[in-house]
């Protein structure tokens, strides 16, 4: 069984060898010892870089992104539930309903909390 993985090992060795090889060759052939400000600056398609690499932007973007992910995941979770609802209803009775209901309830409380805390107010 282990023999089947031999190609993977060879692939890994080739990948590692290529990376190490190019680095070694570039050190040997290139003039890596000489550094200057231009060489150390970030490479942006040949243009002279402007501003910070990581500019600060408002935390509101993160909050909206987090809310989006939250509700995105909620829908992903609800979809298979809705598909199976009718089949499972006979077997599990009200439990399958109340499980999802409590889940949506908790998410809604979180949403109300976020609204009340002004997550979606952009004016200040």
């Amino acid at each position: 069984m282990l023999k089947d993985y031999l190609p993977v090992l060879i692939q890994a060795l080739v990948a590692l060898g290529f990376a190490v090889g190019t680095l070694v060759v570039s050190v040997l052939l290139g003039r890596s010892a000489r550094r200057n400000a231009m060489k150390d600056s970030a490479y942006e398609c040949g243009m002279i870089p402007q501003g910070e690499a990581q500019p600060r932007f408002s935390v509101k973007f993160y909050l909206v992104a987090m809310l989006f992910i939250l509700f995105d995941v909620e829908v992903v979770f609800m979809y298979p539930w809705a598909l199976n609802y009718r089949d499972s209803l006979r077997e599990h009775g009200p439990m399958i309903f109340w499980s999802m209901f409590s889940f949506i309830g908790i998410v809604t409380v979180g949403y109300v909390y976020a609204l009340k805390k002004g997550v979606l107010e952009w004016k200040n």
């Binding site: 599990h92 439990m95 409590s102 908790i106 409380v109 979180g110 109300v112 909390y113 009340k116 805390k117």
Partner: protein
């Protein structure tokens, strides 16, 4: 009589209610949220004595309500209540580092989040399926990420938060990977079904043990066992003190319940059992030696307690390495109960004193006996119990652990344990020396709030009572005739 799962539901509802209360109330004083939380958790603690597990429910595959689970549910509730009392004493420090539009804005969540953490701890106590274990562990860990970094204008707290986040996420990765290996080998996520599947496994046991080891890495992170303890000193020192106490008691105890159940799962087949016990042995020895030796040179009390927390994980792991002996499981539960009393007592006194002296170095405790004989006495009791001096609960905790180890012939661990206990005397009594022999910086008196004083008095009394009469804890752990069906194997 109602179903035990409604306890967790009640805690979650309480937590959500507190969050909404914080969002909607215009009251500038946020301490009301903490009092509501304390009252609510206290009610749930009382209700926990009136529960009865139904005979057949669909969730029984994920969730158990055996005495061990009920014990640790109450454990989590008591811990959270005391943490909220600490948070009330500590709020001055927190508000200093989170200033917003009004003096106390942003403080409400500091009281609401521990309640949600408590729900996670309670689910961890009951979880017998890897899916529920994973979800509850995440609920605990994620709320701790927020709480540890809560003082966002304090660089130490932020550093602690980042370290805890990165290492916590790493350990979660190990956890999931381990679960997939175990699931891949046995085809089950339920611990009982895994235990039933292991004897019928054909071929190599290595993949199964590999999965087990990965899960142990993640649990070792939670319970602060060496060599997964690197985060502990910095996070404990940087986090708000009530959260440090919560981490060191709540997180550790819940981690140990999961560890108990997990190790139990792998006990049936001798070949597997041998390896599992061997792993526990190595972890216990490393943790004991590392925790106790590294604690010796500490001068900051919070950092000292971080290493002491590692050391105590070592003693608990000695009991975990002695599984199979009658009473090893109860020894862990008893030790943790004692650990709760003495650690929370230490942190409570520390918060009160640090509020007045401005820091939590041991030097800040100099001459405490003259500034407040009562707080100095409480701290003396806590330190004596942590060191394991007879007539305190700490002595019996270590005693039962060593008895269990003796029954399983773990003589080497007992030897290491006894030596490290001796080194423990040195660093715990260093605090006592500072309080009683060193001269105070100034002579002003230090007082605690009346309710805090009542909690301190209760903890001191319990340390002494359980130190001479440990029976009540074991009674709580006993299987009641009605519940034998759900008892541990």
């Amino acid at each position: 009589m109602f179903s035990p799962i409604s306890l967790e539901a009640a805690v979650v509802v309480l937590g959500l209610f507190l969050l909404l209360f914080e969002a909607f109330s215009t009251e500038p004083d946020k301490s009301r949220i903490a009092w509501l939380g304390i009252a609510g958790l206290g009610t749930i603690l009382v209700l926990s004595f009136f529960t009865q597990a139904p005979e057949n429910a669909a969730w029984m595959r994920f969730y158990t309500a055996d005495p061990l689970a009920m014990f640790f549910k109450r454990f989590a509730l008591v811990t959270t209540i005391i943490v909220l009392v600490m948070a009330l004493e500590y709020r001055g420090v927190v508000t200093k580092f989170i200033f917003g539009v009004s003096p106390q804005s942003g403080l409400g969540e500091f009281f609401a989040l521990p309640v949600l953490t408590c729900a996670g701890l309670m689910w961890m106590a009951s979880a017998i399926d890897f899916t529920l274990i994973f979800v509850s562990v995440e609920l605990v860990t994620i709320s701790f990420y927020v709480l540890v970094a809560y003082m966002r204008r304090n660089t130490a707290s932020l550093e602690a938060g980042v370290k805890y986040l990165i290492l916590g996420a790493l350990s979660t990765g190990f956890f999931v990977y381990g679960i997939t290996w175990i699931f891949g080998v046995t085809g089950e996520t339920n611990l009982d079904l895994i235990a039933a599947a292991i004897p019928h496994l054909e071929g190599s046991k290595v993949p199964l043990l590999f999965g087990f080891m990965l899960v142990i890495v993640a649990l070792g992170f939670k319970i602060a066992a060496a060599p997964f303890q690197l985060w502990v000193p910095d996070v404990y020192q940087g986090a708000p003190t009530p959260i440090t106490a919560f981490l060191s008691v709540g997180s550790k105890a819940a981690g140990f319940v999961v560890l108990i159940r997990l190790v139990n799962t792998f006990m049936d087949v001798p070949l597997v059992r041998e390896k599992v016990v061997g792993t526990m042995f190595v972890l216990a020895a490393l943790t004991l030696i590392y925790g106790n030796l590294a604690a010796l040179p500490q001068t900051n009390l919070k950092r000292l307690l971080a290493y002491s927390s590692i050391a105590h994980a070592g003693y608990l792991l000695v009991a975990a390495a002695s599984f199979g002996a009658t009473g090893a499981r109860d020894a862990i539960a008893f030790y943790l109960a004692g650990y709760l009393l003495m650690t929370l007592l230490t942190f409570l006194v520390m918060i009160v004193v640090a509020n007045r002296t401005g820091g939590d170095d041991i030097a800040h405790f100099a001459g405490l006996s003259r500034r407040s004989p009562w707080l100095a006495f409480a701290m003396l009791v806590a330190m004596a119990s942590l060191a394991g001096i007879p007539f305190t609960v700490g002595f019996f905790g270590k005693f039962f652990v060593f008895v269990a180890a003796y029954k399983q012939h773990q003589y080497l661990l007992i030897g290491i344990g006894l030596i490290t206990v001796a080194s423990g005397f040195y660093y715990y009594l260093k605090v006592v020396r500072a309080m009683y022999w060193d001269a105070p910086a100034d002579d002003s008196r230090i007082h605690a709030q009346p309710f805090t004083n009542a909690i301190i008095a209760t903890l001191v009394a319990l340390i002494f009572v359980l130190g001479v009469y440990p029976r009540p804890i074991f009674d709580l752990l006993k299987v009641k005739p009605l519940m034998t069906k759900f008892a541990l194997r």
